[in-house]
Subunit: 476 residues, 2 copies
């Protein structure tokens, strides 16, 4: 036994050194237990013990049906990015002008720019052939070949499939409780329009996806930002203070893998959040667009799961996991079903029949769960690779989030850096990043940037981060 | 010569009698000149003269490359529906509740209801096979198989094709001046959002498509209704008074084949309209969704054609001519290009990539002009058939529009009739119609209904109108 003890520690120690010296990089797959035993001439039991030891130290992790991966490199990580300070007043949103230049990146694919801006999985990670097949099947299956108008609430089969997806977080949803939208942003906007009127105040998690701030601005709403941790998400105490202080008519929260900060609210906090909004009787718009892209062992729950009064309006889409360009999202509007359905009608009558029918067919026949497993695995690896790249190439004092899901890293640069100027300089070198300021009403995160890891890591990405580091050092 | 004179008049007289006795019904195709000459044993010249004579009397009409059709039956037609009286105050819109029950009709196709409500061409009139082919081609042609996000302003090839379509009304539009939307209603809403803010006053043609009134209501706008004739469309004098009296921030007009009233502004009036809004510097939102569905010899012009200052925001779509369920519309926003593009981004980021690419392919390769010719011909015939059915089966005092394009008939019933109650009774007999009141802010047209003629005429339609007539007589 002693000898074996010694042996597994020896093997583990060797691996640990390789990790700390970056011979084995974050996200690298380790040899299988069998291969390790053969390589080192040890028993499979000893090999397993070595991995178990490293797993206990948090350096590697087992992923179900996939093997062991390098997870962490303690010495290389530094502080997490900071939260914003609580606000003392509500204000009008003023991010509009800042964002216009960013949106051009959305169709950058054909150009020579390294796109670290857009938060979608690369097309190579998506089941394109199966989706195409579903499109053809949809055209065949339907009597009118998907030419006619669809019901405003959406394709009946798709609503059924969306209701089924709710099982993943323990939800019991009927198809009639689903309203299909044109992506998650339309979903959130429909919810805002359903429960607010111009001049109302809404509480929005900060930082958060800029589309949400823009939507609130356009609807003539006042905003109070509620701070969010890059680890545990929404700050409940801050929200409570906000609700006491302001006449808040709705809250918008991204509890699972906030974009950009990456925080994920512990399920216990979600429960508390639901209790809080219930006490104040305030609708909660839950943006769960990244909920299925978790890196851990199981899907985090949603606020909707803890909703007893029908106050939670759960929004999500297939844009981050299946087909961004199909613009298929949905709302589970709880007690606001009629209002949301009405808003959808008024916005564009209904979403396209063909894309809905195709996605319904895919969810029914396309092995979505299998695809998601592969996608999560790939994104997890990419996340770790990009983190490592940032640590290697950006200045020492850079702080970076450690998201357990989603598609983006939240990076705090030295305070002197103006991230807007950085973007301008980076674009000259054909690198696109998103400045942090647009993830708020324009008053915070001036030296933050968001780096998306949706595209597989390669030399090009490495070079881009190296260039970015050079530009930042020059700016300092 | 005298003898020939006599002959053609004799033949024409016989035909005229057949028309007045409904042996030849409105919309019926007449024998070709050659066939007529053979049938009556007269020369082709005499046969031609007979038709020429009837055409001069307005009873029949020649359609290019198609032949002669029964156009009119003077004695059977009665008065046109009335216009509304000018308004003396602006007011908030209140049609919301009324419309909810109507929208269910949109996906009625699978049920046993005779749908006289929805204003789209029947699927049998649409080039389904060619559209399906274009979908498959689009998936093949694009590198990313139309899975990725599209540019917010739309697919570049589709914008090119839309710019080309503007040739039809003499427009010279660059692809960069086009913004693709999710159907015409989204287009109009984007325009309203681009040039107004809550509390502003807009002038809307009355009657007009209820979606426009709803959109204005939802945006918190005040509305002044401007009356419209079922023949010449918008009442320019009334608009002028309105602009003098109210702080109007935008006008919404459907110059070609107003839905529901069917009026078409003479091109001269469009020119005057543009001069008027230019003088007041007020944006004009032009809904030209029916512009291509003209029954006459040439396409009516648009207001955009006469726009010298970029104040006209021209909106249209493919929903009434090609694929309602694809939700493809567009705006030519003139000087408001940036604003409209921004609103589109904020509403749903972009329209779906696949449906845009498919429509672009169809417009390039699908012989759209050829399809339109066939469609116009079919709709013209259907229009006349439905008119005849209304005249035959509805009470004597019923007034009906005589549209020269579009998809709908505007029917004024005896004053006693509450069209909402009529709809309820008709639905019990599985007949769906649209009550007139929803085509305004809810204060006019209480005894009007809209009958759509998008579906080919058959016994079922005839029976439905007969039943409708019976219900109305019972209500009187």
């Amino acid at each position: 036994m002693r000898n074996t003890d010694h042996l597994y520690l020896q093997v583990a120690g060797g691996l640990e050194q390789m990790i700390s010296e970056d011979v084995l990089k974050i996200g690298d797959k380790l040899p299988s237990v069998r291969m390790l035993s053969e390589e080192y001439g040890i028993s499979m039991g000893t090999a397993f013990q070595a991995y178990y030891h490293l797993e206990g130290k948090g350096l590697i992790e087992a992923r179900p049906k996939s093997g062991y991966y390098v997870r962490f490199n303690q010495r290389r990580f530094r502080e997490l990015p900071r939260e914003m300070a609580p606000e003392s007043m509500s204000h009008e949103v003023t991010v509009k002008e800042m964002i216009n230049s960013i949106y051009g990146d959305i169709a950058l694919d054909n150009r020579k720019t390294v796109n670290l801006a857009i938060a979608v999985p690369d097309v190579s990670l998506l089941p394109v052939a199966k989706i195409n097949k579903s499109v053809v099947q949809a055209m065949r299956q339907y009597k009118d070949h998907c030419i006619s108008y669809e019901d405003s609430a959406g394709n009946p089969e798709l609503r059924k499939q969306v209701a089924k997806l709710a099982f993943n977080w323990g939800g019991k949803i009927k198809p009639e409780e689903v309203v299909i939208s044109s992506g998650c942003l339309e979903a959130i906007t429909l919810c805002l329009r359903a429960v607010t009127k111009p001049g109302d105040t809404v509480a929005i998690e900060s930082p958060n996806y800029f589309g949400i701030y823009q939507s609130a601005e356009q609807l003539g709403l006042k905003v109070v930002e509620v701070s969010s941790s890059p680890v545990t998400g929404l700050d409940l105490d801050h929200l409570k203070e906000t609700l006491e202080q302001f006449p808040v008519k709705a809250c918008v929260v991204t509890p699972n893998f906030n974009n950009p900060a990456g925080g994920c609210m512990p399920d216990e906090n979600k429960k508390k959040l639901c209790a809080l909004i219930s006490r104040y009787n305030i609708p909660l718009i839950e943006d769960d667009i990244y909920g299925e892209l978790y890196f851990g062992k199981k899907r985090p729950r949603t606020c909707k799961y803890y909703d007893t009064k029908g106050l939670v309006m759960h929004c999500s889409s297939l844009s981050k996991s299946l087909a961004p360009g199909y613009r298929i999202g949905w709302v589970l509007p709880g007690q606001f079903l009629d209002e949301v359905r009405f808003m959808k009608r008024m916005n564009d009558i209904s979403s396209p029949t063909l894309t809905q029918a195709a996605m319904a067919h895919f969810l029914q026949h396309g092995r979505y769960e299998y695809h998601l497993k592969k996608l999560r695995n790939a994104l997890h690896t990419q996340c770790l690779r990009y983190m490592q790249g940032i640590i290697e190439h950006l200045p020492e004092s850079t702080k970076v989030s450690r998201p357990q899901g989603g598609l983006a890293l939240w990076v705090e640069l030295p305070k002197k850096i103006n991230a807007f100027r950085l973007r301008t300089e980076a674009m000259k070198q054909h690198i696109s990043i998103v400045p942090g300021k647009i993830f708020s009403s324009g008053r915070h995160y001036g030296h933050f940037i968001r780096i998306s890891f949706g595209r597989p890591w390669n030399e090009e990405m490495n070079d881009a981060l190296m260039t970015l580091g050079r530009i930042i050092r020059k700016m300092l």
